[in-house]
Every structure is written in structure tokens, then in C-alpha cells.
Amino acid sequence: MVSVINTVDTSHEDMIHDAQMDYYGTRLATCSSDRSVKIFDVRNGGQILIADLRGHEGPVWQVAWAHPMYGNILASCSYDRKVIIWREENGTWEKSHEHAGHDSSVNSVCWAPHDYGLILACGSSDGAISLLTYTGEGQWEVKKINNAHTIGCNAVSWAPAVVPGSLIDQPSGQKPNYIKRFASGGCDNLIKLWKEEEDGQWKEEQKLEAHSDWVRDVAWAPSIGLPTSTIASCSQDGRVFIWTCDDASSNTWSPKLLHKFNDVVWHVSWSITANILAVSGGDNKVTLWKESVDGQWVCISDVNKGQGSVSASVTEGQQNEQ
């Protein structure tokens, strides 16, 4: 059974579109149609407003915490076509960088695994995906994938970092050769998998087709050391699929339908050890799912959103910071 452990009254003046716990589960960032991003300290069941960040000129769709090794950094994206990176310096939160490289609403932001450096992927309604890489001293390098999805891109999610070959200690100063990958979901009903080539360019590696309407969210599950890779996707068509690929080299992804809901499904999110999937949808419910012995996905709880209880992201603790 799932129970509410905390309710945070954010005092947002309009709909809240995203709520994300930081890496340690001590802070909560929320963003809203009221154009603000708020950060709360939620330790020990409390809620203390730490920051009320203004800077966007439209509804803010998503927030994402970077890995703590880079400090306290939060990214937000908005209808105003901008991505803002906020940073905490000496106890105060300030705008650290603004990326205005999109022609339309930016719908999703996701930080890459910290092993790759400080890299942010952004998906936009202009169909493009941009990748911001921090190069030092306040500078960010931008790579853009144009026309990643026709009509628009709604979601981006990074694959966990896996070093190919053995994990022997690298000679000092050298970075291991990671193969960087991420997944994106778009208005073309597709999920696409992207891979960085040796020359630094990003190439579309796979197309996953199963949805009959806009893909609203994708979530690449954390790695638990098994050779399988797993991706969850959800769509306007009310369906949630679990995609699995048994072998990194085989490249065949097979979808399994988790459930067909009666309304649009907005978000999917994995628990830290990837054993529980949280799904939230237009039917005003958040449900938690787990794979059972015989490979079927079973709903292990039901949390009604409307009744003053917080969405699954709080009870599930830290989610897919990847």
C-alpha cells in the first residue's frame, strides 16, 4: 500500500506542471503555469520555501536537477521558448544561463548522466532537440538536432551511463569512452533513440513505433546491471508501453503494453532501482506498477491526485535523475 507522507502547499497561482525531488530527496522543485519555479526544503516532513524563481515569460513545463557534483543546479523549460539554468551560489538561487535557441515552446529538459559532464538535452515544439554542454567559466556549447520529430518533440530521457568493455581504472586524466544515448518522444507518435557518433554528431539510431497519438513522455530506466535496457513511454492515446532490448548490440526493442488508460497519460517515471514505474494521467490518478513473476505488469497502488495528496514523485522518492 502507498501512503502520503507529506503534502506541500506550493502556493502556485496556477497549474503545476512538474515536481521533481533533488538527488538526495531533500529538496523539491516545482514549476507552474504561473511562470514561476519554486524550490522547497522538504526534509523531515517540512516545507520551507527556499526560492521563488522568476524569469520565464510563459508556463514552465518541466524542471530537472543536475547531479550534485556540479553544485546545486536546476534547469527549467517553458512555453516562452527558453531554457533557463539556475544555480545556487552562496545560498542564493540565481539565473546562471539562458538558452533561447528554439523557435517554439520547449517542452522537456533532461540532464545527462554525470559521467558525461554537465549536459542538458532539451526537446521543443519546433521539432528540434538541443544539447547544451557546459565547457567551463560560464560557457555552454550548443548542438542542435533539427527536425528530430515532425510537429514537435515532447520528451527527452537519457540512457544510463554504461562503459563499454571492462571497467578497469582509466589512466589518470582520461575519460572512458562512453557511448552516449538518449530517447525522445514526439508529436509524430514516435519514440526515437539517438546516439552520439565519434565525430560528436548525433544520429538517429532507432525508431520505436507503437503509439497512435502524440508521445507525451519517455523514461529510460536506470541500469541494474542486467543486460536488458528498458524504456517506458506514454501517450495521448492513453497507452503506456514498456520497451525492452535484451542485448545492447541486438538493437531490437519489443514493446509490452502496460495498460490502456481512459485518458491521456502525461508522465512516466522510474524508481531508483527501476523496479517501480509511476504513471500519471488525465484521469487524475497516479498509479504505481511493478512487474510480476510471470512478466505481467501489475498495478500495486492507486493514488488519487485530487484528494489533497501529492503526486507519486514525492512518495517514490528520488526519480530518474539520469
Binding site: 500500500m1 501512503s3 538527488y23 538526495y24 557534483m69 571497467l167 541494474i224 531508483i272 532501482t273 513473476v293
Partner: protein
């Protein structure tokens, strides 16, 4: 809960209701973690229970037979139960003492614990003890007596009164004693009645005799089951005869008792209130109708007892279903029902683990963990990680999950908030003990970055050394050097002086260490050594170009000494370096910004250096010329 510390066994008491960790379904109960180590175990571990138990069993495995093993397991099971009971007592005292307003909360907490113990106890009897027909009933009787405790307070009331046999509840007491098979005590009560009303003395005595002569299997009794059955049959028939003869017709109470002792269902059901629950009804029924019941027949009686007792008025509750599943010997069902009913993983995780040790669980191939035991332990351990101090317990549990324990630990351990250095060190120790190098690296990096941002360079340096992070070590070393340039002195000298082999981590760090060594040598007046070192730092290219000016400036006092320190050869080298620096030719690999600034001060410095070098060269040549050979 208390902060757990490294090695020794620690008791974690039932935690207060504010720490909502694992919630129960049946009530507003809250966190329950209770691991009280058995007193004779002083094993090292911050997770007393499961670890210690495992040690126990492992030791036995190498020794002897199943029999000993079983008794050990039973003992372990009893320990668990005593823990639950201790918790109940703790709850009672803590909560009741503190706040009467918490009364409702604490009473439901206690009832949940009581239910847990009830279930565990039954599982112990059926699955671990595996009591056969005969002893089975005795165990079940004990079980019921332990959990339906009103008898004692009733007894105290009645016996404490002036005229016990005239007390309102006298007959209730006698009845419930009979229902619980406590016939000796019942007889004593009856003798009081006999004393008080001589008219009924006769029938009381007869009843007393019946009670005395009921055949029952007592521990240590050597009669066989068949003998017992036979005797019991005879006794039963004797009771039957008394009923037929209406011997007790004058006393409705005694007649009712007789019917109970005959196992008459209707009579038993009349005592619903005293029985208070269906499993009491079940056991009493078995006692007086089939005392040698076989384990495999239990479920039939259980189901019908439940049905009869509820009488269609209410439906079974989760607890009832769990107990039924146990009577049916369906272990998986028990675990499943418990998992659903209790949103707390402690109970199922530990019970399952114990049952696994009894080799009772067939291995289901689960995605998570190779079997149900690991699956549940993983769940329980994950839950512990959300708690500020119980995460250490979680570590130990993960250690006992052979399939996914390690990777789960890897994922969880990085998420522990590192509020204090002490906590960070604890976490790192855990990782290092398990060779989780990636996690060590990641955590050290986080700490190093934090230290840099707070300008604690020494701390940052030691974290980056621990993380074996060359790039970061370089970054921090640069900061140190920059600081030195600005302030003219080093911070954290101790650290830099004692780098040892760690110095090799990065070139910049090596330079930092060597540069400091130069200063030390100079301080110890080992000028020749200092001079050589200084020069080698430049010629070996360990020193970053940006620092050369500083190094050359450092050379000045050595050049100005009365005795000649730099040889002619060395002086030529220095001059070459200076020219290199001032020529403003972009050197391969260096950026524009690192070139010499066209500054008045810089120009003066360069002039001074040139002069000094020239003078030293002259002196060196003269000195070397006047020595024998060269």
C-alpha cells in the same frame, strides 16, 4: 531512532509516529523497526537481527542434523516474537506515558503488533516447529491462551473478591477456563462453588472429576497417539452418559460446561463473546472433539469454524484470511496476504527469510531477486534507505541479497544526503569495504566540488585524491597556486607536505608538491638542492608556463646569496628560460593569456632578473674557473 554507529550491536527501538516510514494498512500506525539482539549475541553488526540469525544458521549447517537445526530455527522464531512483544511493551509505556491524546494511535499500533505476533506464532507452530498430531493441539492451545488474555484480569477480579463464587463474572471465568482447556484452574473454581453452596457440592465434584480425568497429551508423556485416542473416546462417552442422565440438569451452568466439553458446536457458539474470535472457537472445538487432529485436516476445521463463528453476519478480514492461509499450509499465500495487508516490509521480509531457511519456499523465478526471499529483502532494505540513520541497516540487508543486492546498494548509496563530514566518511567506508570504486569516486567528487565552492581547498584536494580524480586534482592545485601568487603563502601546508605518492595523481599536483618542497628546502637553507629543484621544475616542464615568472622571481634570493649557488650551466638554463618567457613567441600548447604581460612591473622584474643572472653567471664562471678541473 538512534544514530547508528559502525560496529557494535545497537538496539533500535520502536520509533515515534512522526517518522512515517512503513505504514500499516490496518490503522494509522507508523514506522516500526525493531531489532533487539538476543542478549547472548555480541556479533559485530549494525543490523542485529538478520545478520546474527544468519550467523547462527551458517554455523549449524556445518555441524549436525536437521533436528538441531530445527530447534535453533524455532529459537530464532521465538526471538523474533519476543522482539515484537518488546515493541508492544515499549509502545505501551512510551505512548501512554507521554500523551493520553495519542491513546487511540498507540492502541491501534499495539493491536497491529499483536496481530503480527499472532500470525508469526501460528507460522512458527505450523511451519517451523511442524508440530505433529497430538503436540499440535497443545501448541495451538498455548497460542490461543497467549492471545486471548482477558482471562487473567477476569481471574484477578473474581478471586480478589470476597465471595468469588458469588461474583457476577464467576461463571464466565469458569467457562472461559474450560474453553481454554485450563481444567485444573476450572476445577479449583468449582471447589469454591462447592464450598459456598453445599447443595451443588455433589455435582460440582462430579464435574471436577470429569475435568480431572480428561485425557490429554502432556509433554513428556510416553503414550502413543492411539492410546490417547482410545482413552479420550472412553472419557467422551462418559461425559455423554452424564448428559443423557441429566445429571447436571439442576445447574444450567454446569450443563452448559458439559456440553462444551462434549464439543457441542451450538454450546460453543453460545459462548461467542467469551471466545472473542473464530480461531479460539476453532481450537476449543478441536480440543473437545478431535484433540488428535492431524495438521493436514486443520484447514477443514478452520474454514468451517470461521464460517460458523461469523455466521454470515460479517465477512472475513485480512487477518482472518492470513490465518486461514496458514492453516491451509499455503505459505506463499500467507506471504502474499501479509504483503498486501501490511504495507510494512519488515514483517514479510523477515518471516520469509526465516521460512526460506526452513527450506520451505520453492524458488519462484522473479525478475527482482532470484526468489521471493530476496525480493522482499530488497523491498525492505530500499525502504530503510529513505531514513536518515537506518540506511546503515539497509546496507547489511543488501549484502544478503546475492543477486541484486550489490547493484541496488550502488544505486541507493549515492543518494544518501551527506550533511556532515562524518556521515560522508561513513558512506565512503561502506563503499570502500565493498570495492565500489565508481561510487567512491562520485561521492568524493561531490564533496570536493562543495569544498572548492566553499574555498576549503585543502579539503577539496584530499577528496580529489581519495577519488583518484586527476582532472580535479589539477583544478584544485591551480587554485592553490593562484592563492599563493595572490597572498604569498600556502594554505593547508600539512596536506601538501604529506602528499606522498598521491602527488603523482596529476602533473599540476606534482608541481604543487615539489614547489612546496622547494620552499621547505630554502627554509632549511639547503640552497643547492633548492636551486636544482627550482630549475628542474622549469626544464622538466612540470611547472605551468604561467608560473615561470614566479619561479624565476623565487630564484632571485638564491642568485643574490653571498656564495654562488647556481652553477654556470644552471645559470645559462635560467637565462634560456627567461628569454623563452620574454620572447612572446606563442609556445605550442599555451594560450595567449599566459604570455608575459607588458607591464611596467613586469619589465622591471625582468630587468632585475637579467642583471642578477648576469652577475651570477660571472661569479659562477670565476668560481668554476678557479677550481681544479671543471
Amino acid at each position: 531512532g538512534k544514530e547508528l554507529d559502525g560496529e557494535p550491536t545497537v538496539t533500535v527501538r520502536a520509533v515515534n509516529s512522526r517518522k512515517n516510514q512503513m505504514c500499516f494498512d490496518w490503522g494509522p500506525g507508523r514506522l516500526l523497526v525493531s531489532n533487539e539482539p538476543p542478549s547472548n549475541k555480541k556479533e559485530m553488526c549494525s543490523c542485529p537481527f538478520i545478520y546474527i540469525i544468519r550467523k547462527d544458521v551458517d554455523r549449524i549447517d556445518e555441524r549436525l542434523t536437521g533436528k538441531i537445526q530445527k530447534s535453533q530455527l524455532v529459537r530464532v522464531s521465538k526471538n523474533y516474537r519476543s522482539v515484537i512483544r518488546a515493541c508492544m511493551e515499549e509502545c505501551t509505556s512510551v505512548f501512554a506515558a507521554k500523551d493520553p491524546a495519542n491513546g487511540r494511535q498507540f492502541s491501534s499500533q499495539v493491536s497491529i503488533l499483536s496481530a503480527m505476533e499472532l500470525i508469526w506464532n501460528l507460522c512458527e507452530i505450523l511451519f517451523i516447529e511442524v508440530a505433529p498430531a497430538g503436540p499440535l493441539l497443545l501448541h495451538l492451545l498455548d497460542w490461543v491462551r497467549l492471545h486471548v488474555c482477558e482471562v487473567d484480569s477476569l481471574s484477578a477480579d473474581v478471586l480478589g473478591s470476597e465471595n468469588p463464587s458469588k461474583h457476577d463474572s464467576f461463571w464466565n471465568l469458569v467457562t472461559i477456563l474450560v474453553l481454554q482447556g485450563r481444567l485444573d484452574e476450572a476445577r479449583q473454581m468449582l471447589s469454591k462453588e462447592a464450598d459456598a453452596s453445599p447443595a451443588s457440592a455433589g455435582i460440582c465434584r462430579i464435574m471436577g472429576d470429569l475435568m480431572r480425568t480428561m485425557p490429554i497429551l502432556s509433554p513428556g508423556n510416553t503414550q502413543t497417539l492411539t492410546e490417547l485416542e482410545l482413552k479420550w473416546q472412553h472419557w467422551h462417552e462418559e461425559c455423554e452418559r452424564y448428559l443423557q442422565d441429566s445429571t447436571f440438569a439442576t445447574s444450567p451452568h454446569l450443563e452448559s460446561l458439559l456440553k462444551i466439553m462434549l464439543g457441542d458446536e451450538a454450546a460453543l457458539l453460545e459462548q461467542k463473546e467469551l471466545l472473542s474470535n473464530w480461531y479460539h472457537f476453532l481450537v476449543t472445538r478441536l480440543l473437545y472433539s478431535n484433540p488428535t487432529v492431524k495438521p493436514i485436516d486443520l484447514h477443514y476445521y478452520a474454514q468451517s469454524s470461521l464460517d460458523l463463528f461469523l455466521g454470515g453476519e460479517s465477512s472475513p478480514e485480512p487477518l482472518d484470511n492470513i490465518l486461514l492461509a496458514a492453516f491451509e499450509f499455503d505459505i506463499h499465500q500467507v506471504i502474499k496476504e501479509c504483503s498486501i495487508a501490511l504495507s510494512n516490509w519488515w514483517f514479510v521480509a523477515h518471516l520469509t527469510d526465516l521460512l526460506d531457511h526452513c527450506k520451505l519456499l520453492q524458488s519462484h523465478n522473479l525478475y527482482f531477486g532470484s526468489n521471493m526471499r530476496e525480493f522482499l529483502l530488497l523491498e525492505y532494505a530500499s525502504g530503510l534507505f529513505a531514513h536518515p540513520s537506518l540506511w546503515q541497516l539497509g546496507v547489511d540487508y543488501f549484502d544478503y541479497c546475492p543477486e541484486l543486492g550489490r547493484v541496488s546498494l550502488e544505486l541507493h548509496i549515492e543518494r544518501i544526503p551527506l550533511n556532515t563530514e562524518q556521515k560522508a566518511l561513513k558512506v565512503l567506508r561502506v563503499c570502500e569495504q565493498r570495492q565500489m570504486t565508481e561510487q567512491v569516486r562520485s561521492i568524493c567528487k561531490i564533496l570536493a566540488m562543495k569544498a572548492v565552492r566553499n574555498n576549503r581547498l585543502g579539503s577539496a584536494l584530499s577528496w580529489s585524491i581519495r577519488a583518484k580524480d586527476a582532472a580535479f586534482a589539477t583544478l584544485v592545485s591551480d587554485r592553490f597556486l593562484r592563492d599563493y601568487c595572490e597572498r604569498g603563502c600556502f594554505s593547508d601546508l600539512d596536506l601538501i607536505d604529506n602528499l606522498g605518492p598521491a602527488m603523482m595523481l596529476s602533473d599540476r599536483l606534482t608541481f604543487l608538491g615539489k614547489y612546496r618542497e622547494f620552499h621547505r628546502m630554502y627554509g632549511e637553507k639547503r640552497f643547492a638542492d633548492a636551486a636544482s629543484l627550482l630549475l628542474s621544475l622549469m626544464t622538466s616542464r612540470i611547472a605551468p608556463r604561467s608560473f615561470w615568472m614566479t619561479l624565476l622571481t623565487d630564484a632571485l634570493p638564491l642568485l643574490e646569496q653571498k656564495q654562488v649557488i647556481f652553477s654556470a650551466e644552471q645559470t645559462y638554463e635560467l637565462m634560456r628560460c627567461l628569454e623563452d618567457l620574454t620572447s612572446r613567441r606563442p609556445v605550442h600548447g599555451e594560450s595567449d593569456t599566459e604570455q608575459l604581460q607588458d607591464d611596467d612591473i613586469e619589465t622591471t622584474k625582468v630587468e632585475m632578473l637579467r642583471l642578477s643572472l648576469a652577475r651570477n653567471l660571472a661569479r659562477a664562471i670565476i668560481r668554476e674557473g678557479s677550481l681544479e678541473g671543471s
